[in-house]
Point group: C2
Chain length 399, copies 2
């Protein structure tokens, strides 16, 4: 059997059910992938991540290329083996980090925060940047990205694309899209080359659609992607500034995308956006939100869950355990949650750990948030299967 392989099991107006079969196991879709950026989810060991029924870890080509280096990871047998993870893995192209370090990330841009001033020079060849570790000059070309991702050996990998800032002109977006298409072509050529040092037989390549917020460009990009033999599609480029804009862009990006390939929405992880994306036909997501939130004291929670919860936090999808209202709250985060954190710890204890700057707080909350997302995704899959998605949505979104 040739891996990876995608099968659609059921398509409904609430989303579709499917399976991505990889050499390291089956991914049931819709699925949410966690980011193991530098080959770890910060503060949580992989044997614990496995116990939480985590489907996939997505590691970062940019970081691993700079340290420990693709050769060390390849010697270890690939990124999964390196980090002691037996399940499926993905890697991104490395582009997002380079561009966000150069332009500043999207949230900084939207908030008007000062941009990073790091060196970044984009040319037809690729993206030239300086290592954050030692200042050495690198040029990430489509070919180098594929080479490194083959060395890292994940089950699925992505083509290099230019990640443009949010508010650029139609002309700029078009030029960037066309360059990303040429890079996608070069990535595919490098990927298919038979004599590459780290050529893998069980790796699938995702192309990434572009076009920003412009319907015409989105259509052009979809046509381009459909015409190329990629295993999967990533939805890239600017998705707009708000959830409403994102839904419009997704409509454009998904309208004509061929439906026999898995569709991945890059960098999206808010609960509401996940439900909306799935309804539009997205199969998989990745985002740092659940794990980053945990490290900063945030616990994901179903809205309106505690009938006696205080007004100021019960309507949200997370609670911030740093708040002093939790000092004497001897309940678990969620009394129905069966994650190791909710089975053992109270909000008062977690509040104490955060106030005491204990890293155990970050581990414990990350564990809860991972389990929360995995449980929610499992209920979503069941919801699609049993046609009870309105109930599932209401349970996890409160509306």
């Amino acid at each position: 059997m040739i891996f990876p392989k995608f099968e659609v099991k059921k398509t409904t107006s609430y989303g579709r059910l499917g399976t991505i079969l990889t050499a390291h196991g089956k991914i049931s879709t819709p699925s949410f992938f966690f980011c193991s950026t530098k080959a770890t989810i910060k503060g949580v060991d992989t044997w614990i991540i496995e116990k939480l029924n985590t489907p996939v870890l997505l590691a970062n080509t940019y970081h691993l290329m700079l340290h420990p280096g693709a050769d060390v990871v390849a010697d270890a047998g690939g990124v999964g083996s390196f980090m002691g993870w037996n399940g499926p893995t993905y890697t991104d192209s490395g582009g997002y980090q380079i561009f966000s370090l150069g332009y500043g990330c999207v949230s900084q841009e939207i908030k008007g925060s000062p941009r990073s001033k790091r060196y970044l020079k984009i040319s037809e060849a690729g993206a030239e940047f300086l290592s954050y570790r030692d200042g050495s000059k690198w040029c990430l070309t489509p070919e180098l990205s594929i080479h490194v991702q083959q060395a890292l050996g994940a089950d699925c990998i992505f083509t290099l694309d230019e990640c443009t800032p949010y508010h650029i002109s139609y002309e700029h977006t078009r030029a960037s899209m066309e360059q990303s298409h040429r890079w996608a072509q070069r990535s595919l050529t490098a990927f298919l080359k038979e004599d590459s040092v780290y050529k893998k037989t069980h790796q699938g390549l995702y192309g990434i659609s572009q076009g920003g917020i412009y319907p015409e460009l989105r259509r052009v990009s979809v046509d381009f992607l459909n015409s190329m033999p990629f295993f999967g599609h990533g939805i890239g480029g600017s998705l707009g500034k708000t959830s409403v804009e994102m839904r419009e862009v997704l409509d454009m990006a998904l309208e004509k995308l061929c439906s026999d390939r898995p569709i991945h929405l890059l960098g999206i992880g808010k609960i509401e956006d996940i439900f909306d994306g799935i309804a539009k036909g997205i199969d998989t997501f990745d985002c740092v939100i659940p794990t980053r939130l945990g490290r900063h004291g945030g616990a994901l929670i179903r809205p309106n869950y505690w009938s006696d919860a205080k007004e100021d936090y019960h309507s949200r999808s997370s609670i911030n355990l740093l708040k002093s209202c939790f000092k004497n709250d001897h309940r678990p985060i969620d009394e129905l949650c069966s994650c190791p954190t909710c089975l053992r710890y109270t909000r008062a204890y977690l509040h104490h750990l955060i106030k005491s700057k204990e890293i155990t707080a970050g581990s414990a909350l990350t564990i809860h948030n991972i389990f929360f997302m995995n449980t929610m995704m499992e209920e979503i899959r069941r919801g699609i299967d049993l046609n009870i998605m309105p109930e599932v949505r209401s349970k996890w979104l409160g509306r």
Copy 2:
């Protein structure tokens, strides 16, 4: 049955076997206790600590008194319940932290490092200090220490003593010892008082012997302790500057100590010192070394274990995984170790995590070191039972 209860099972020249029965389970001795200072072992969840066969967690009265406060912990049902730990717990008196913050700790003193300048005023009443959190003034009296430790509700607790620096005169040591004896008497009176708010029926109180490096004072202190109805004995005061001096002081401190009580050696955790202490009759130890070492990249290892190991680290009891010689070392820390870290991770991966400043490194190494200590202590108990201690010592110490 009244808890705690101590039973000696077997006494040999290599050490003695025993059992401390507590309301939260049995502690087989000799035993090594881990320090959960602020009610956590940094970076490792209590459900994981339990899986590693950890016998006891020792929490810190000084820290918990300042945050979250004894009342919060009492409301949670005591320190074990607060931190989600089902097994036995100990607390110290809080004195060590106050005195080490005032005087500087022993290692700083021995190394000649600059002392801390924190406010500390010792009087007959107790030790006056300022909170490291908000600068508020506190006076830790023997009675307050007992009150707080009853609120924290550990299975075994300690009397407040003055922790003197290493190199003080005979006269100063004697005066300090006499004051500590008066504090011990006040502690016991407070402990036995029937109408205390947080009075516990299942708590045992340890007295602590003093006398520094002076044989005559050690004898006086032992006589004093033997005459008082403490559940257990702690060996306190200066133990000297070297392992050789420590062995001499232990001989003085143990010679006439009544043998029907468990004997705890405070703050000792080097492998060699543990073997020596056990041979002299110590039942239990506590120390931050194994967990602190793990957070700083150190993995405990049996000397001479790897036949192909490099000269520069194989004769030691730990390896520092920050060293570049581990960059491509795709072996586990110890191939015969069955801890979760050794089953999943290589030295190369741990080296990468440390170099990348990932907190997962600290968790993974702490887990290994806890498991290492617990496995060693189990083999020591078996070694005493089966009269094969020379073989056990040779396996874990290399000599």
